[in-house]
């Protein structure tokens, strides 16, 4: 795989796409090779290892499998000649004959320089490619713990990058203010305090159990809720010290259910700017400020308007949702020339509507990569936005996953979408 840009975001995106593609492929026999080379491994050692495998593989019974495995090893060895050392994060080869239509096979090669270092050398020959180790690199690294609490209810959860996950919501049975008023009864008050203490203990346990096993990964824990209950809960010993140590800030938040977690994340992202989610919110804010203006301001959205603006080099900031349909498959009829496009790979091979001839695949365009290239050429800032945060969902659902802020407005040139 050859990364076309030095940009972290698009590398990550392409990496993700490559893994998705690899997991769909399989071989007719155990003939697909996955080879993981850590950065500190000598290339000569790898070559020696492959020679060994080559001679072992010569004993494979099935003639076609043997032939395919040997061809794959040869292919890897010949490519290794171009490397004196592995690249900084190591190297991964996926090579072999993959099953295509009917009982056909086709030689397939993908070489990946992963975004994070490979830690162990691995050689596997199987009927599919092994991508687990690489998939783990996509796991969210930015994990925060979340707690919202008052005397009636509490919710514990995680913020995984930009996604909020609820661990548990609990309701207390703490009685509220005695309805009819009357003289204050000390006994009633004491009962309230006992019930509240029990409730806080339970919430503390839920939070400890959720956070302790992942305490090393958790960057920080945010605690919120209405009024002073959160402060009381924090100061007393309901939370274990490891958990308490991760609490950086207390936030005023009105609700204590899942909506409260959202509010908490919003508040936290306003004050802690190095969170991934704060960055996304800020970028979307810039676009939304424009779109809210009566004439749509400097905002445009939707594929056509964006392409037009990009071609005229008017885009300052392009926001692309990770969640939009990414690949456009174009087929053409070899007899009549009719073209057909699909936004997903069709499950059955398509035929021409007119004459029933099987179509030929003539193009496979990734919209994100395509727009990314176009934007970079015109000097626009491009950002890929997740589809997990509120803002990310908004981008995907309300704006078709593509939004841009222009440098200036030329009403005669831009079809304003409003």
């Amino acid at each position: 795989m050859y990364f076309m840009a030095d940009d972290e975001q698009i590398r990550r995106y392409e990496f993700k796409r490559a893994l998705e593609e690899l997991s769909k492929l399989h071989g007719r026999g155990t003939e697909l090779i996955s080879l993981y080379i850590p950065p500190e491994k000598q290339i000569s050692d790898v070559v020696a290892y492959l020679r060994d495998e080559y001679s072992t593989s010569s004993n494979i019974k099935s003639k076609s499998t043997r032939k395919n495995v040997l061809a794959a090893i040869e292919s890897i060895m010949s490519r290794l000649k171009y490397y004196r050392f592995p690249p900084p994060n190591g190297l991964v080869f996926f090579v072999g004959h993959i099953a295509t239509r009917g009982d056909q096979t086709e030689m397939y090669t993908k070489i990946i320089e992963p975004p994070e270092p490979i830690t162990t050398f691995m050689y596997k020959c199987d009927s599919e490619f092994h991508t687990e180790m690489l998939k783990a690199m996509l796991d969210e690294k930015e994990i925060y713990g979340l707690i919202v609490i008052d005397r009636k209810e509490a919710t514990v959860g995680f913020l995984n990058g930009t996604r909020i996950e609820v661990v548990e919501n609990v309701q207390s049975q703490v009685p509220s203010k005695h309805h009819q008023g009357g003289q204050s009864s000390r006994r009633f008050e004491r009962l309230i305090e006992i019930a509240a203490n029990e409730f806080f203990k339970k919430v503390g346990e839920i939070a400890n159990n959720a956070f302790i096993p992942r305490i090393k990964e958790i960057r920080a824990i945010f605690l919120g809720g209405p009024g002073a209950t959160k402060e009381y809960f924090f100061e007393k010993d309901y939370l274990r010290n490891e958990v308490k140590d991760k609490i950086k800030d207390l936030f005023d938040v009105g609700y204590t259910d899942e909506s409260g977690l959202r509010e908490l994340v919003e508040k936290a992202s306003e004050s802690i700017k190095d969170m991934k989610i704060s960055r996304e919110k800020d970028l979307m804010d810039r676009f939304l400020r424009e779109v809210k203006k009566p004439d749509g301001g400097l905002a445009v959205y939707g594929e056509k308007a964006i392409r037009d603006a990009l071609e005229q080099k008017m885009v300052d900031l392009l926001l692309i949702s990770e969640g939009i349909r990414r690949v456009k498959y174009t087929y053409k009829c070899p007899t009549c020339g009719e073209e057909k496009t699909f936004s997903e790979e069709p499950s059955e091979w398509p035929v021409c509507d007119k004459d029933g001839t099987p179509l030929e695949l003539i193009g496979e365009d990734d919209m994100i990569e395509d727009l990314y290239k176009l934007a970079k050429e015109s000097g626009a800032q491009v950002e890929i936005i997740s589809d997990q945060s509120d803002e990310g969902k908004l981008l995907k659902q309300a704006f078709g996953g593509l939004a841009a802020v222009l440098r200036f407005i030329r009403k005669d040139n831009v079809q304003n979408v409003m």
């Binding site: 209405p226 809210k292 659902q397």
Partner: protein, 424 residues
């Protein structure tokens, strides 16, 4: 036997610390509902705890946390009779974190006292606006404005300052749709103009606050509609059993009635009904009651459930269509958006599933079909899907249960009415 006077539910609303609880305490005190020695006791204790001047507020602020911080957290109810009315006073919290509780109280109110502090640097503030708007959208028809802390203006009891704050408040109320509110300059803490004219403000010729309250109109009683009692809270009282409390919105409830609570889906028999510790033979719209139900445990039902008769149960919806107005939204609202809806006493996260069309505010004609999004100032028809089962009624059938407020990220972002629904 309860009073024969017409019953009115009266809520105090307004920004945090502007003196709502103090005013309620004062009203009750001057009416002899609270003996002087209790106020004196509170005064000493509050002073000891570093909360001097909170003695009147303590009448309603009875939680430990409320007294320690000097902030009202949850609603408190007290009865209070004038020559003309039997009032249930509902004291609401002003702090922004507790707007959700204020909304519950407002959904039960027939009239409101909007308390605004006239102290320098105070006046019309964020929750003054939010509360006034909520009162209007949740259907509170009448409002009196108490311009409070007149003893603390510069100079004290300044007519000029009163007129300034009054002008701001008048402007706010007009835009919201309250036409002719009464404005009374008072000091809740000192007692000026609360129940009798104040010698400190000879320039003021209008009614005292009490007179203004008696000038409210008697609300209509929709007794011919099906019974609906949204549950505000549930108590389990030793020797009696489970006692849900709430305001009768429509219909009539009697001991012996067979009732159902929805969406909890629990049934029981009404054994007895009480209002402010007095038994009732029949509860009517506006009555703020506690009623003992046989066959139901405390944990079976909670705030947000609605009680109705078995033969015409409250409507639980899978989805509903609403007309909303976007009041104040920091970005835009698009399908998929999931804020919190407050309907009667219920509070449920709901997804805006579809924006059907936007309307022209002038004549209600369609501006745009299926817009991509809506923003502040827009009026729209939307399809809404609650996260959890919810009782809501068409506003054309039971308006009391068809209105709602929408909140998100600590603000009231929209309000609306249910115009159609899909039963569950």
């Amino acid at each position: 036997m309860a009073s024969q006077k017409p019953h009115l539910n009266l809520i105090t609303i307004g920004h945090v610390d502007h003196g709502k609880s103090t005013l309620v305490g004062r009203l009750l005190f001057e009416h002899g509902e609270i003996p002087a020695h209790i106020i004196e006791e509170y005064r000493k204790e509050a002073e000891q705890k570093g909360k001097a001047t909170f003695e009147f507020a303590w009448v309603m602020d009875r939680f430990k946390e409320e007294r320690e911080r000097g902030v009202t957290i949850d609603l408190a109810h007290r009865k209070f009779e004038t020559d003309k009315y039997y009032f249930t006073l509902i004291d609401a919290p002003g702090h922004r974190d507790f707007v959700k509780n204020m909304i519950t109280g407002t959904s039960q109110a027939d009239a409101a006292i909007l308390v605004i502090s006239a102290r320098e640097g105070e006046g019309v503030m964020e929750q003054t606006r939010e509360h006034a708007f909520l009162a209007r959208t949740l259907g509170v028809p009448q409002i009196v404005v108490a311009i409070n802390k007149m003893d603390a203006t510069e100079p004290p009891f300044s007519e000029k300052r009163f007129n300034e704050v009054k002008a701001d408040a008048e402007k706010l109320l007009k835009t919201i749709g309250y036409k002719d509110a009464t404005f009374v300059p008072i000091s809740g803490y000192k007692g000026d103009n609360v129940t009798k004219p104040s010698p400190n403000m000879p320039w003021y010729k209008g009614p005292s606050l009490l007179q203004a309250l008696d000038a409210f109109k008697v609300p209509e009683k929709p007794i011919n509609k099906p019974l609906r009692v949204p549950v505000e809270d549930v108590y389990s009282i030793t020797g009696i059993g489970t006692v849900p409390v709430g305001r009768v919105e429509t219909g009539v409830l009697k001991p012996g009635d067979k009732v159902i609570f929805l969406p909890a889906d629990k049934q029981g028999d009404v054994k007895s009904i009480e209002m402010h510790h007095e038994p009732l033979q029949q509860a009517e719209p506006g009555d703020n009651i506690g009623f003992n139900v046989r066959g139901i445990a405390k944990n079976d039902i909670k705030r947000g459930d609605v009680c109705g008769h078995l033969d015409s149960p409250p409507t639980v919806v899978r989805a509903f269509t609403a007309q909303i107005v976007v009041l104040n939204h920091p970005s835009v609202i698009a399908p998929g958006y999931k804020p919190v809806f407050h309907v009667h006493t219920a509070q449920v996260a709901c997804k805006i599933d579809e924006i059907v069309r936007t309307l022209n505010p002038k004549d209600g004609t369609t501006l745009k079909d299926k817009p991509d999004f809506i923003k502040t100032g827009d009026i729209a028809i939307v399809k809404v899907i609650p996260d959890k089962p919810l009782v809501i009624e068409k506003v054309s059938e039971i308006p009391q249960l068809g209105r709602f407020a929408v909140r998100d990220m600590g603000q009231t972002v929209a309000a609306g009415q249910c115009i159609d629904l899909e039963k569950r």
